[in-house]
Symmetry: C3
Subunit: 412 residues, 3 copies
């Protein structure tokens, strides 16, 4: 190339660099903005859970919500982020960036965004064991989840070298790695802790404990919607690659479509098919929650009408999960078990079934393979989640630290 | 051009394309972010309305808020978006994109954003008929508004080929197409339903029913402010065209200026001119609401000081509207009728009067014409809104489905 | 240059201009989005303060929150923005843009964003004198702060020509210019107003008045977290310069790290070292508040681990400040004095100590100089804040307008 041409090209190269730097900035802005929105989920948990428990325990519930978003900061930044995104080729967990040491500066926004996810995963468990779990047990599992077990299974599902990812596991916004995981961990915790003393009558009938404050429950649910819209949208991770804008729009629309379909199905079936009594708000809210979770795994890949189908089916997942939980006499004050574990696991299954090149629309070896991997992956993650939690509770039970005594439980 | 020059130009073309794709992404991010904020309005309606009604009806109010944001998803995506933005040259309504079929992928973000507007329009009516409207009637008008009547009048005002738009109708953020429309529809619904049994004494005196929870009302109002800032800002629709950044900044500043002017006028006049009793919070909140609505139509075109004038005048619009409503014995539990209809309509008028090239600052044939079109357009939209609603209620009344019976009303 | 080359360069120049315009748009989007989030702080003040006072005063507290965000709009736009950012070389205050006249269009977004800061500064004082301050006094100091005293000291700290800035004062997100300032002004107001009649027993013992609604306090705190994340992030002022993305990510991570460290320290020390009774939620919340404030001044310059240290130390600042305030029998219903003044001032000190090139990590004349300037600057700003407020209260006390009478105080 002649010198004169070179001088012409130089400003062009500068433009290219300039544009690349600009894009990085915008990506960071995207992650930070969405991260702040995702933080709304913490408000969601706080208000929804505190509306579900009895008034005597409200302060305690809010306090724990507050503490666990704090603790998960320490542990996620100390070890969690490193275990999930610290590279490594062992397939089991990451190996760099412990205590964020050596973290490249341009990954900091990603780190903040992922923290809001870890805080979500950590928050879920506590809801299920409210009103009977000791503070010691609560602190132990909060540290364990945010610092070790959640990050490890996230590595499997999200990291380039994660063994599930390598096999073809598809989980866009954490149906499996967050919700199925946290649901399974909650199940183990709830089972090992046992039900509240007044939850089941001697004849096995369950005492229903309604919201003590409907506006508070509504506020929680409202924060959930804000948070989940950002949760799914932000899961795209960037906004400057070709087509990113289209993906996040699709995700947002699919999310509202699925949530609506799921909650409307819940309300209509409850009113006209099952109980045939008056409209039930709580059922509707739970319907919308499971829709939010089921859609996660494939929200970037559904057509709008398949999102509608996913929403419709979600309610039945919830219904069956709920029946099993009650039958097994597991006590779940906030109704989160069926929503998280059922929704998370079937989110993975539905993603493999209903996405554009899924089993349903394009049956093939490849799509069947994805279905298999997603199913097995979901099961593995749930075994990991419940297994590690059970181990922890064996220790806690040995020292009799897992449960408050009866008088405390009665007095709140 | 010589071949060597061509090869120089190629990277340049690539850069151009790259930049264009990047801009699309950022536009989508803008619409999704603002859309999530606009969704805060749903929280606003829920908490403000539930604070206005009596405690026995709180759950019902929250439930309806929840249901109507769900239902409007279905109907807006099925037919609403198509009727408003589906092109078509008939001047009456759009003709493509039913059930979002054939929607170009890069319009999905716009579709999500517009859904949050449709949910707003749908939410407004329900507030006015709280505490006496049947669930059947509620479901009917929710479907009608989100799926047909609101989209059609929006087409008139917003679509390239809409007959009002063609005539020169100017309504930046939906003063007319959303607020005047929904206000008029609410008026029809409230008139056809009749007042609550204990709203007016036999001698015609109105029983004032104060907030049962001031913090809840405040929370609602707070969400309104967050939502309306995004509502007006996002109405610009893009952020990557020349001058977009300046427009959204102007919109944000004008919105807060107008809201403040309107609410301060309300508080001061109520305290020192009209009732001369103690400060009245409810009046102040209503003052800020009407400011939020009046500013919509021209918030991109006012100077800051004209926004101040608009805010000042807004309160008097509210005052007069409120007097008429009480005189006509129309029962409005949330005080939304005067705010929406008065604010919406006079928003259109003020926009034509006070914008930079409006009647007030630059009297001319052209500005007079805009004033005429905005006035007539507003009236037409209101006739459309109230007319279609009246038709619906004739049917509902025929089957006696429009109103709960007295004992239900007394028990909540 | 040959003509042919020129024609090649032209599209390149166009691209450059295009990119520059695009960047301005994105910067504006950043400021507006963050500004809306910062507005969440207003909700934070409203709900936290109203939870701290007694139920009889809740409506009054919410009303004042509402009024002061309105009034600060007028006064900040009339004179405040001009005094801070209106250029001028006198070193004391700005001289242009009064009533926003002559404001370049591309500064409008900055103006909106800065308004949300001014509204924050204005909101802080009122909390400290709740339950006894007259409406007249409230209106007077609101106007004074938003229109004159806060803008002037902000000019010193932020404007190119501000005398503190010229000397090397470093205050990224307003530890000094907002929090130390407002804390000092609050101290003066609280001292001049005197304590509530039932706050201190005759023997000097303080009556503790707990939250009347824990969920409301939690809601307030939650809005504080959302708002402060945006407050610190947005303080960067732009997102399109090289490295902006990295700065905002660092700021977000440092903010959550510091808040957590501070609140965990508070909870643990209160539980195991000081009172040794049960866990105390209120202490934890105050711990997180002081963390949010201390981090402001240097959140763009800390390593993650220095942010942790800052958070840890913050709690002790709070502890000592609180002891002094109680010893001096100053009544502070919301516990904001120690948080704001202590946190604000020590935020400045810590920034000079712990930043990368600070006294702690790189002792040098230059870093010692920054420490000196930050300390003296903080003290000057606090003298300015408390001095102007004291002058105002001398006038108010002269006319006996500073405090409601005892019967009003008892009845609320």
């Amino acid at each position: 190339m002649s010198p004169s041409n070179q001088s012409i090209l130089q400003p062009e190269l500068k433009l290219q660099e300039d544009l690349a730097a600009f894009k990085k900035n915008v990506d960071n802005m995207f992650l930070i903005t969405m991260g702040i929105f995702v933080f709304c989920l913490q408000g969601g948990f706080a208000f929804y859970e505190s509306a579900c428990v009895r008034p005597k325990n409200v302060t305690n519930v809010l306090f724990r919500n507050y503490v666990d978003s704090s603790i998960s900061v320490i542990f996620y930044f100390l070890t969690g982020y490193a275990l999930t995104f610290g590279g490594g080729e062992n397939g089991f967990c990451g190996t760099r960036y412990f205590a964020l040491v050596g973290l490249p500066e341009d990954k900091m926004a990603h780190c903040f965004f992922q923290y809001t996810f870890a805080a979500t995963a950590t928050s879920i468990v506590k809801g299920i064991v409210h009103e009977r779990c000791t503070t010691t047990a609560f602190l132990c599992y909060t540290c364990l989840i945010s610092g070790f077990t959640y990050p490890v299974s996230s590595y499997w599902a999200l990291s380039e070298n994660g063994w599930l990812k390598v096999l073809g596991f598809q989980d866009f916004a954490g149906s499996g790695s967050i919700h199925a995981y946290a649901g399974a961990a909650s199940l183990a915790a709830a089972y090992m802790t046992g039900p509240r003393h007044d939850r089941f009558e001697k004849d096995g009938k369950m005492n229903n404990i309604p919201f003590h404050s409907v506006p508070q429950a509504f506020l929680g649910s409202f924060f959930f919607v804000l948070g989940m819209l950002a949760f799914n949208t932000g899961s795209n991770g960037s906004i400057t690659n070709d087509g990113d804008g289209i993906v996040i729009a699709k995700v947002a629309v699919n999310t509202v479509v699925c949530v609506l379909a799921s909650s409307m199905t819940a309300i209509v079936f409850q009113r006209f098919v099952f109980e045939r009594s008056c409209w039930n708000f709580e059922v509707g809210l739970n319907g919308s929650f499971i829709g939010m979770i089921t859609i996660c795994a494939g929200c970037n890949q559904y057509q709008n009408w398949t999102a509608l189908i996913v929403g419709f089916l979600s309610y039945f997942v919830y219904l069956i999960a709920q029946k099993i939980i009650i039958f097994a006499k597991i006590d779940d004050p906030v109704g989160g078990l069926g929503v998280q574990m059922g929704g998370g696991f079937f989110g993975l299954v539905f993603a493999a079934l209903f996405k554009d090149d899924g089993v349903f629309l394009q049956p093939s070896m490849s799509s069947a393979n994805t279905l298999l991997i997603n199913t097995l992956g979901g099961i593995t993650i749930m075994i990991w989640g419940s297994g590690t939690m059970t181990l922890l509770y064996f220790v806690l039970r040995y020292f009799n630290l897992h449960r408050i005594n009866l008088s405390e439980e009665q007095n709140g």
